[in-house]
Symmetry: C2
Subunit: 242 residues, 2 copies
């Protein structure tokens, strides 16, 4: 039976990390919010699941994945599950945990990227917190982007199995997620990110190689891949790119 992925319609957002894993695995899935429903109806279907009182394990927020009777929320937990199920993480316990640790750090980066344009909270529009966003984005851009990308570069350099993957010799969901984080940073902060990537050749190579993986390439060229936009997590506001 195909998985059902529930996420907000219209944006890549955190759902995209799950989509990339499902696509690389060649797993059948229904992207509920991308169905024939309108965006409002899709969001309604998602909220209906969250509010069903019969669900013993209700997710706190999207994305969540339905596998028959099992419902899993939290992006990193979904990837932990898919990693085991579809060999997108090593079987060895220590490497499997290390893959997850990297994913959790990518999740921190994603949260900071979001807060760079919404420092006062998701309840206000960007336009209502623009001076604050300018201040927070400067710190993110100048300190955090190089710190994160530098860390990934170090991990690749130190991988005893070679610098083509973050963990082991094969692709893992952490590689796919790093690809997506770099995509997002390049969209949101193109000037700054290109500058930092110039000093991070292994991250750059992983980003390019991932885009050429046959299933990922097919996905990126399909209409299943939504473009980035200014409703998502990675937003391009030129004034925030310095």
């Amino acid at each position: 039976m195909a998985y059902e992925l529930y996420y907000w319609p219209g944006i890549q957002g955190r759902g995209e990390f799950v989509r990339l894993a499902l696509e690389e695995a060649g797993a059948g899935y229904v992207d509920v919010a991308r169905g024939p429903l309108s965006e409002d109806a899709s969001a309604g279907a998602l909220m209906a699941v969250l509010e069903q009182e019969s669900i013993a394990r209700p997710p706190f927020a999207p994305p969540f994945l339905k596998d028959g009777d099992v419902l899993i929320g939290q992006t990193a937990a979904i990837l932990l599950f898919l990693g085991d199920r579809h060999a997108l993480a090593p079987r060895d316990a220590a490497k499997r945990l290390w893959t997850h640790q990297i994913q959790l750090t990518i999740a921190d980066l994603v949260a900071e990227a979001h807060d760079s344009h919404h420092p006062l909270g998701a309840n206000l529009y960007y336009e209502d917190q623009k001076p604050e966003a300018l201040r927070r984005a400067r710190h993110f851009r100048e300190e955090r982007i190089p710190r994160y990308l530098g860390w990934f570069e170090t991990l690749l350099a130190r991988n005893p199995d070679g610098d083509r993957h973050l963990v082991g010799k094969r692709v893992s969901y952490a590689d796919l997620s790093l690809f997506q984080a770099v995509e997002g940073l390049l969209y949101a902060f193109p000037n700054r990110t290109k500058g930092v990537l110039a000093e991070a050749r292994r991250v750059t190579a992983l980003h390019q190689a991932t885009a050429r993986r046959p299933r990922i390439q097919a996905y990126l060229n399909s209409n299943r891949r939504l473009p980035f936009n200014e409703q998502g997590i990675f937003r391009h506001y030129p004034e925030l790119d310095g």
Copy 2:
């Protein structure tokens, strides 16, 4: 061999979620930053580990746990490891993942609690972002605290094994972490949190019962438990409590 826990000296912070699990497990551990070194020297020891070039799997940030040759970073990943090792999570795969999903949501709550006093970033003092903190804290206090605590209350109510634990019939690291989150909220936002807890009797009961667990009680009464303070994640600034 005893574990070594590395975390910033002087605060509970994210390290506290790890300490509570280690204490409940009765596991031997050295809290490196609480040793005989000065705070500066402790922080130095921690940074030295982060910067060692021989480490194949360097954590991005504290806390991290050393178990012989194995180094694990990210609070939720450490707890996933300790949960398996010390039976602080169910063995059943679906319940184990659900425990982790809850932990990841607690991590989100913790990050939001931090940002309520540091919306512009950790690089600036609270005093340099006070008007912004007032705006962000209002949203956190009015919308997010009830949303999170209401979710935990729902989980307890729906646990098929009874409402004394978040998952299954026994204590898990998720219970310990919820205890700590409630402790932190009661410290930082006492007025608001007491009001919300009045409508969440199961969360209140779990919080109280956890404090009475023999090993947790002994820990809370020991000098190993640092008091909350205004350098940590949960800070009490009366103006932010409305």
